[in-house]
Symmetry: C2
Subunit: 122 residues, 2 copies
Amino acid sequence: MKSAPALPDAYEAIFTALAHPARRRILISLNFAGGAMSAGQIAGLFGHAWPTTTRHLQLLEAAGLIEHRREGRTRLYRLHAPRLALARDWLAWFERDPATAEEKDDGTGPAPVPIEHRSRQS
Amino acid sequence: MKSAPALPDAYEAIFTALAHPARRRILISLNFAGGAMSAGQIAGLFGHAWPTTTRHLQLLEAAGLIEHRREGRTRLYRLHAPRLALARDWLAWFERDPATAEEKDDGTGPAPVPIEHRSRQS
DNA sequence: GGATTATTTAGCCTATTCGCTAAATAACGC
DNA sequence: GCGTTATTTAGCGAATAGGCTAAATAATCC
């Protein structure tokens, strides 16, 4: 998490990370694994070269979606679900009528949206 | 919708679309507009050149997230929320314990995940 | 009908992504 | 200590993304 970008850059990092099928598969596999998977195990999911997987893992970690710890020469990766929840929450805005969404503002749902408006778009 | 990619390519298109801040802003603005916005109105949200906005709109439309109709020389764009729901549902998998998720399979939630596993990853 | 307006298309350019192979680094086992 | 194994780093190259300006196309207005 220490390298995860601050909002709203986080959205860009997260959605970018989710945009590649290999990276989605990594997330799915980590989720199903429940605990952690080694880099080698993850690399074994794919037919492509291991360094390619390393690249993907680095990007997922930079986005804050996964994290790793070392155990000897093995690197164990695991999911960081709160980051995924960020994306989910952002998307949750679109299942509500904007008028009712404002009435139901509980301080958690609408947070992503105004911050996005204030991003460097000028 | 007629040009929207089939699953699981849809995920790539959708998350890619969401990865750029300008495109997220377009979606947010369309959502708040409630009905539709013209290309010019959308372009007016940004300081960048109008053709850049056109590019973003084309990508959003290819991903099935928005659609347009013509009214004379004006092009009106509107949100296609079911596509966003796809992404949300995919992400919804990560808020559940995998074991309980299988027990609660109602035919809507888990659909994105197995299809992803069958994608061309070999 | 010509000028104005709405919008896209075409093409250029720079930066980034994502695949690869080779090399490097470190841990492990005998 | 040396060979093996786990993993990343470095660098290359092709493809793509995303910005731009100029030009094109079509609708609208006077």
